[in-house]
């Protein structure tokens, strides 16, 4: 591998290699629409309970309100986050993180890297933590959080979470001013592709759909359905009547919670949620997240006795 990464995917691959070498399980993106890497059950649910955990993954993330038809140099409705979650947080997590920057070509002796206070809170997940935004030469390149609570539960032990906004970070490392100009694969490949080649058209398509076309009645119905299904799943008895096993369906229920959250974001982008209603919707999603956390805490993955 060359000293400096040359493309977007090169940066992703280096992060994968680096965190794999530090003992993380390299997971794949969660196969649902989410607003951020934190929503992946490998973070949200695995931050709960007593069992040790270490995972890293890319998570495609969607924020419908941020769509700009691919014209804004920095804003996208679909982008990638790189997410690392290690439980318990190791004492050298800052050093590990700085090692990852080195792996993707940020030479700490030339740059100004700073840990600037940033308390993280997710009202929809009922979660909060303390940590920093990491600045490189005045630009926020990552979020660094020690989870204190998720789904209303105190995190014991505490997980350390790292989130890299991949496009912004890669643009900085590659010296690109407009996201669409960024080389996606190797610029010397037989078929060199830019971020534009891959995503410009979809940014336009989704921006149009998100802002003007999505059927709000259907979205609203889907929201209600997801909410109802989540609760129905959680109301099932722990004992599965067919297998006789104890199977608490925390993950299927949490999928519905993720759905509800994304549907709320879509409704928000369509501008049909008033300021006062916003809080109510967020509260409804949070209620689901809390119930999913309750369920997960009773499972083996959380360290509960089987």
């Amino acid at each position: 591998m060359a000293d400096k990464p040359r493309s977007f995917q090169d940066i992703i691959l280096r992060l994968q290699t680096y965190w794999a070498s530090k003992g993380c399980a390299i997971l794949q993106p969660y196969d649902m629409e989410v607003g951020a890497g934190t929503f992946h059950p490998a973070t949200t649910l695995r931050a709960l309970g007593s069992k040790a955990w270490a995972a890293a993954y890319v998570q495609p993330s969607r924020r419908p309100t941020d769509g700009r038809y691919g014209e804004n140099p920095n804003r996208l409705q679909h982008y990638y986050q790189y997410q690392v979650l290690i439980k318990p947080s190791p004492p050298d997590l800052q050093e590990l993180y700085l090692g990852s920057l080195k792996a993707i070509g940020v030479d700490a002796s030339l740059h100004d890297i700073r840990f600037v206070e940033d308390d993280w809170e997710s009202p929809t997940l009922g979660a909060w933590g303390l940590g920093w935004e990491v600045w490189c030469d005045g630009m926020e390149v990552s979020q660094f959080t020690y989870f204190q609570q998720v789904g209303g539960y105190d995190c014991k032990p505490v997980s350390g979470e790292l989130t890299y906004g991949l496009e912004r970070l890669a643009m900085y490392i590659l010296g690109v001013d407009h996201v669409m100009d960024m080389p996606f694969n190797d610029p010397d490949a037989p078929n060199p592709l830019t971020y534009r080649d891959v995503f410009k058209q979809t940014e336009e398509e989704y921006a149009r759909w998100n802002f003007d076309v999505a059927d709000t009645d259907i979205l609203l119905q889907h929201f209600k359905d997801a909410e109802a299904e989540c609760q129905r799943i959680l109301e099932q008895p722990a004992q599965d009547p067919k297998t006789g096993k104890r199977i608490i369906m925390a993950h299927p229920a949490y999928d519905q919670c993720i759905k509800a959250s994304h549907l709320f974001n879509l409704l928000d982008a369509r501008g049909v949620i008033s300021v006062t209603e916003r809080q109510a919707y967020i509260g409804r999603v949070r209620a689901l997240a809390k119930q999913c956390a309750d369920a997960f805490m009773q499972t083996g993955a959380a360290g509960a006795a089987a």
Partner: protein, 705 residues
């Protein structure tokens, strides 16, 4: 006498918490040591982004042994009493001595505490300090139970004297105290050991860490102003930002950067706010044009390219930020120039408070109220209404959405762009003022009218829905709003009858915008019922305000008891005149005379069951002193009535004070309770004239002493 050095080395401490934390460390440790019987000569605390440090010199090497005798209950007292005594004294029952006392045999506890080594005490105190540190927010990490602001990595705790340095043995959840620390995260990351404070500070400096925050701040300011000066520019002073930036770096390196030409046309406040809030940059101004043309950023790093990469990165980030700001500004200008209508409409979707309607409803109320108040403050009612209607339009603008702290200021820019009168534009900015006790009070009549209307509406509304401040809780900053009203009225010398503003017209305003009715009684009735309570709240705030100006609360009470007390300017004029009068010899003695007259009268009225309020006649006056008092009262009455009508309180009160010699002489020479009922009644009625005269000026019964 050994010296003590403590360092608590952690991951990055939020800048805003560092100074306070250093002070807390000093206080908790020194208090703990002193309480345990140690003394020290001097203490100093320091903070950097990664460490809190404390240096104590001249510490006593051990605490003195103490012996205390405590007398307990009588022998044979109930077990409960004896157990309580044992608990309080911290001894066991078999350690009690029985001694003879005057009243019999009594238990005595002898509490002996041996002297303890400083190291033992320090270990205990530091453990306690770390576990109970008052961080605004603290956290856990890994699987340790310990809480700190961010993960704590190492502790230095050493006692040093001529003989050398010794680590104070201490272990907190696996972190053992030692004598080593680390320097700058990137420039000098290796551990090194220290043997005392001077060694510590010197080695840190060699390891690229300046321990003292004020030294870092000074260095930043010095370098920044020098670099700006070399270009004929000046750094915009911002002490808060300087303190914050000094808390973000251990080794400050000042870099001066460019702002791209595209952005130099933005309002200077926008440039400044965007650079400060997002990037912690200082603004650099051209003193000739007043424009902001450059920025200063402070890095925490020395690089081989003298910061070129760092500066280029920062400039790039700033470019993106300012491109956003410019985008907002240009979009906003389009709306502003077209008259801001969409913004005003948009405010109907913004809830002010769920029981008090939207921002638009609120604007309707403020506009109506501003119109009412306008004549009293010398503003044009039409303009006042217009100003109130647009004063909050900028809340819908993109710029204020991004930078809420620019509210008002952007309103002024946009109102100007909309072609509105300059006084209306000024009101957009100034109607939020005064925000605090030291904030300037607007003086332009239009700004005063809207500022008053805004605050009175807030108070009336929250009073109506029973969200009053209680104790330390004042989530809607209502005390501040009331103080704002007080300062606006007093400093401009306006006559604004508050009762009308908060009561009668308040009802109309709220029903006008259709605020929903309460279950059993309407909000409008609530407002009426609360008007008196709200006025008392104003009076309470006024007392606090005037107390700072040296006017006693009983003097204010004496004036609040008078009619017209919702006119704060009048009220304060009265209080000032009364305070002045009471400071004179005549005034002070007249109070005694008044009280005596009032006491005699009250007793007589109670006893006789009648009111002696009328009909004192000079023809029944026998004594010269009595006749002189009639004359003095007549003379005073003649002066007081017109002076009061003209609100000339000084003259009225001087006239009141002038009756003092006559009152004193009367009490010396004349017996009120004469044998003759005719004389007695006449004299009581004369006392009543003294009382009435005094009470016509202020309620002197409220005066203490």
């Amino acid at each position: 006498m050994p010296d003590l050095l403590i360092e608590l080395f952690s991951e990055e401490i939020p800048a805003r918490m560092q100074t306070r934390a250093a002070d807390d460390l000093k206080k908790l440790v020194t208090d703990g040591l002193v309480e345990a019987g140690l003394t020290y000569a001097g203490a100093a605390a320091f903070s950097t982004p990664r460490r809190l440090a404390l240096s104590l010199d001249g510490l006593s090497a051990e605490s003195k042994a103490t012996r205390e005798e405590r007398k307990g209950p009588k022998v044979g007292a109930p077990d409960k009493a004896i157990e309580g005594f044992l608990r309080g004294a911290g001894v066991t029952r078999d350690a009690l001595e029985i001694r003879d006392d005057k009243k019999g045999q009594v238990y005595f506890a002898v509490i002996e505490k041996p002297g303890r080594l400083a190291a033992d005490i320090i270990a205990e105190v530091l453990d306690n300090t770390i576990r109970n540190f008052p961080w605004p927010k603290s956290m856990r990490w890994g699987d340790a139970p310990l809480k700190w602001v961010r993960p704590l990595h190492s502790i230095i705790c050493i006692l040093s004297d001529e003989g050398g340095a010794q680590v104070v043995p201490l272990d907190i959840d696996g972190i053992s105290a030692g004598n080593t620390t680390r320097g700058h995260r990137f420039l000098a990351p290796d551990a090194f050991s220290v043997n005392g404070f001077d060694d510590y500070e010197a080695k840190l400096k060699r390891a690229n860490v300046i321990l003292r925050a004020d030294e870092r701040a000074e260095l930043i300011w010095h370098d920044a102003t020098n670099q700006a000066f070399a270009l004929g520019l000046e750094v915009v002073e911002d002490r808060g930002l300087l303190a914050e930036v000094a808390g973000l770096v251990e080794w400050p390196v000042v870099l001066l950067g460019q702002i791209a030409d595209d952005f130099l046309g933005l309002p200077p406040e926008v440039l400044q706010t965007s650079m400060k809030e997002h990037q912690k940059f200082f603004s650099v101004r051209n003193p000739k044009t007043g424009r902001i043309e450059r920025f200063v950023t402070v890095a925490n790093m020395v690089t081989a390219d003298n910061g070129a990469t760092i500066l280029a990165g920062n400039q790039k980030v700033l470019f993106a930020r300012l491109a956003d700001a410019k985008f907002f500004w240009e979009n906003d200008l389009r709306v502003a120039k077209a008259g801001m209508e969409p913004w005003l409409e948009g405010l109907s979707n913004v809830t002010f408070h769920n029981k008090l309607g939207s921002q638009k409803d609120r604007i309707e109320r403020i506009a109506a109220l501003a119109r009412e108040i306008a004549p009293a403050v010398g503003a044009d009612p039409d303009l006042a209404e217009q100003a109130a209607r647009v004063a909050k339009a900028d809340l819908s603008s993109e710029m204020v959405y991004e930078f809420p702290e620019l509210q008002g200021l952007m309103g002024r820019y946009y109102a100007t762009e909309a072609g509105l009168d300059a006084s209306v534009a000024a009101a957009c900015q100034e109607h939020y003022s005064p925000l605090g006790p030291s904030d300037d009070v607007p003086t332009a009549p239009l700004s005063v009218a809207v500022a008053l209307a805004d605050k009175v509406d807030t108070l009336t509304g929250f009073w109506a829905i029973d969200e009053k401040p209680t104790g330390s809780k004042d989530p809607f900053a209502l005390r501040r709003a009331a103080l704002g009203v007080i300062r606006l009225v007093l400093e401009n010398g306006n006559k604004v009858p508050l009762t009308a503003a908060i009561d009668g017209h308040g009802q109309q305003r709220f029903s006008m915008v259709g605020i929903p009715l309460h279950k059993d009684r309407s909000l409008t009735e609530t407002i009426s019922a609360n008007a008196f309570d709200l006025l008392s709240f104003f009076h309470d705030r006024l007392k606090v305000f005037l107390k700072d100006k040296g006017i006693r609360h009983d003097i204010i009470d004496a004036c609040i008891a008078m009619p017209g007390n919702d006119d704060l300017t009048l009220l304060v004029k009265r209080a000032e005149a009364l305070a002045e009068t009471l400071a004179t010899d005549d005034g002070e003695n007249l109070i005694q005379g008044f009280k005596r007259a009032n006491n005699i009268l009250t007793q007589a009225e109670e006893k006789d069951g009648v009111e002696y309020s009328y009909g004192a006649d000079i023809k029944f006056a026998e004594d010269d002193a009595e006749k002189a008092l009639f004359a003095a009262l007549d003379a005073a009455d003649a002066k007081i009535a017109p002076a009061m009508a003209a609100e000339d309180f000084s003259t009225a009160m001087a006239a009141m004070a002038a009756i003092r010699p006559a009152v004193d002489a009367f009490f010396t020479d004349v017996q009120v309770n004469a044998d003759s009922q005719v004389l007695r009644r006449n004299r009581l009625n004369l006392l009543s004239r003294i009382r009435n005269l005094c009470l016509s000026v202020a309620d002197l019964t409220k005066i203490e002493g």
